[in-house]
Amino acid sequence: MREASRDRAKAFLTLLPSIILVAVFVYGFIGNTIWTSMTDWGGSGALATEPVKNFIGLDNYVDLFTGFLGGGFRQDLVNAVYYSIMLLAGAVGLGMFIAILLDRKPKGEDVLRTIFLYPMSLSFIVSGTIWRWLLAPQGGVNVLPAYAGFKPLDFAWLSSTGAILEFNWQNLFQVLLYAAAFVMIMVGLWGVRRDPRRAVLRWIGPGAAAGLLVWLFGDLLPQALFMEETHGFNLATLGIIMATIWQYSGYTMALYLAGFNGISQDLRDAAMLDGASEAGYYRHVAIPMLKPITISAVIILSHISLKMFDLIFAMTGPDNAQTGHPALTMYLTTFRANDFARGAAIAIVLFMIAALFIVPYLVSQYRQRRRG
């Protein structure tokens, strides 16, 4: 008994330094940033030795989401959402595809593996500069078809002003509800084979009802902004998404490859004996077994996409609303425009979005561990 408590004390003492450091340098500073975001610290005199800071509550947040001058931030936020979704789909999909190809052990598999993983070791600034050159309007990718005798492309990869999937920010609530309804219906359709009753009752039914209600009575919802403001998926982001996928699909490939290698050969042989095709083996055996890997890839990549800064900075520079990103705006607002409070508010918004991804994951992990 005494032995155990002494062990505990020792463990606590060993952990104490890191607990203190994390408490101060992570949670302390998160708290400080939250506090800063609720003040009016900024403008001239912001850099004085004793700057004036007045508590103004949530004004900075209200201004970011509904203010006249927050339009840039709102576009950045929309950009970040599209960017995250495309990056996740692209990097996970492509990484998995390459991993499956390499799992078949083709000749020179180890060389290929290195080649695919290599982009990840490059600094974002370097790859960003390379891609900027590749995607220049009159060079790089656009002149490739000319070598094959076709007309060169004239797509402005990084400066196109076109946008698709546009919506009016005034209708933000409708759009969010539609998205939720869509996700519910999709989840239901996914599970319809396993348990049709539950799928219809729990997911498809409510989802369809919510969608219908919004469609019928959506006009009654409050408007999120006093004026019309359209945001959408800017085509100029495509270039940046391409570059990020190029850089990160090697990483997801490595994750999946490690997972595939961890599946025992017996299992594969058993599946083959039962008459599974190659595709069937991956579809029904290997990939479902690698669910933890998929989840960690999704979480890591979504964080990377939320923190993305250097690649965008190198590819399109600081002021480019078409490809803007909240992290970039945060830096410019804080350190160029000296608007520390608003910069802090943007940082907290980003932090909250990141929490949206990570908290459910942590909760489910915790539950699983308690159950297991």
Binding site: G42, G43, S44, G45, A46, L47, A48, T49, P51, F68, L69, G71, G72, R132, A136, P137, A156, L158, S159, T161, M227, T316, G317, P318, D319, N320, A321, Q322, G324, T329, L332, T333, F335, R336, A337, N338, D339
Partner: protein
């Protein structure tokens, strides 16, 4: 015994030094001098010329040339902020003269008033009065201008214009008249580059639309941005934008200038560092290979910007820094620096024989034109306004809505306390 004696001598010497009368100012300077700037690369040699003079005059001082690269100081300014906040100011740092310095550092009480230095060196008489007003406040003068650049210049290739059969437009109306003619021949009327060059173009257009008096009124807070005049400036800017290139945001300013040189575009409005680029890098002769004129509707107005050096409070080697500032403001220093940098001296008595033809004409204009401050380069407004203006510009480039842009500017002006 010997040890304590030597200690005694050291203490006596120290006491003597402290008690020494102020008259020994001419004493040899020693120690270090750290100069913080963003002048690397093309601008490096100009800075080196100044440092050479300093070293000749003060051989005992070790000069530390701390540069952080990045056009118009994007990165340098952020590094400087962390250093100042961390209590480690450099001895003297480069900053755009005007509100960029005043709004960020003077209002924060981190700069030393240089009025005594200006008086002692007789700079009150050699720098134009309008310039001194723009770099100072009612409480003092805050930096020593090293150079003067002009923002409202339109560049063209005379031979090309003759080939296309158009004359240089004096006003925007004339420009709108010839622009369709250029378009018909497959020539882009006006080359534009990434975001900040749009801000740069805006200030030339707005100055033409508003006139110098209203332009000044905008910045001292007596004219609202969303007044009819302000909205008209944005409308005109929108009209000008119709004659610019669609891929602007992925070009650097040099690439936009290249479009004019190659004959793909007719005109380009850029600061006069473009002359330096064409003269030094492209080896073109001013007046013959390339021509220039004040941007349409702004002849007789000199939209200026200046690099300057200030003296932060708590500069670790103050005497060395003051010696540095003296060289920057001297005739010798500015005439060594500016011909290499491709800018003119802020002094009215500079030796023009050292400058090329473009710079001679700019210096003549600077002497007689109405001098107004540039927005895009930090003279007219503080950094909060400039940062916000960049996003207003992005919004306008997308929506092309003059009313919304003017209103946003007015909110921004209120927020960043323009004119207070």
């Amino acid at each position: 015994m010997i040890k304590s004696f030597s200690k005694y001598i050291v203490i006596m010497a120290a006491a003597l030094l402290l008690a020494a009368p102020q008259a020994v100012q001419a004493k040899e300077l020693t120690g270090e001098l750290e100069i913080f700037s963003w002048w690397a690369g093309d601008e490096g040699p100009a800075l080196a010329a100044l440092i050479d003079i300093y070293k000749k005059q003060n051989p005992g001082v070790e000069v530390i040339n701390a540069t952080v690269t990045g056009g118009s100081g994007v990165n340098a300014k952020a590094v400087l902020k962390t250093r100042m906040l961390g209590g480690e100011p450099p001895d003297s740092f480069q900053v755009h003269a005007g509100q960029e310095l005043i709004g960020t550092w003077v209002k924060a009480d981190r700069m030393e008033d240089l009025t005594p230095l200006f008086k002692e060196q007789g700079w009150m008489d050699v720098f134009p009065e309008g310039l001194i007003k723009l770099i100072g406040t009612d409480k003092g003068i805050w930096s020593v201008p090293v150079n003067v650049h002009r923002s409202n210049v339109m560049w063209y290739i005379p031979a090309n214009l003759a080939k296309w059969g158009v004359a240089v437009p004096k006003t925007w109306d004339e420009f709108f008249a010839i622009a369709p003619k250029l378009k018909e021949q497959g020539v882009l009327p006006l080359a534009l580059a990434q975001n900040w060059t749009a801000n740069h173009l805006w200030e030339s257009v707005a100055l033409a639309s508003l006139g110098a008096d209203n332009w000044d009124a905008l910045w001292n807070g007596t004219l609202a941005f969303d007044s009819p005049e302000g909205i008209k400036a944005w409308e005109m800017f929108g009209k000008v934008l119709e004659y610019t290139n669609a891929d602007a945001s992925s070009l650097s300013w040099q690439q936009a200038t290249d479009m004019v040189i190659d004959g793909r575009a007719a005109f380009n409005i850029m600061g006069d560092w473009a002359a330096g680029y064409m003269y030094t890098t492209k080896k073109m002769t001013p007046g013959k290979d390339f021509g220039w004129v004040a941007s349409p509707g702004t002849s007789g107005e000199f939209l200026f910007l200046a690099d300057s050096f200030g003296l932060p409070l708590g500069s670790p080697h103050r005497d060395n820094a003051i010696a540095w500032l003296k060289i920057l403001g001297s005739k010798e220093g500015s005439d060594a620096f500016n011909p290499i940098k491709g800018s003119i001296s802020a002094r009215t008595d500079s030796d023009l024989s050292k400058y090329n033809d473009y710079l001679k004409s700019a210096a003549a204009d600077f002497g007689k034109d109405r001098v107004v401050g540039s927005l895009a380069h930090g003279v007219a407004a503080n950094e909060t306004f400039m940062g916000g203006f960049a996003s207003v510009m992005e919004m306008f480039l997308k929506t092309r809505n003059p009313q919304a842009a003017a209103k946003a500017c007015q909110q921004l002006a209120k927020k960043s306390r323009i004119g207070e």
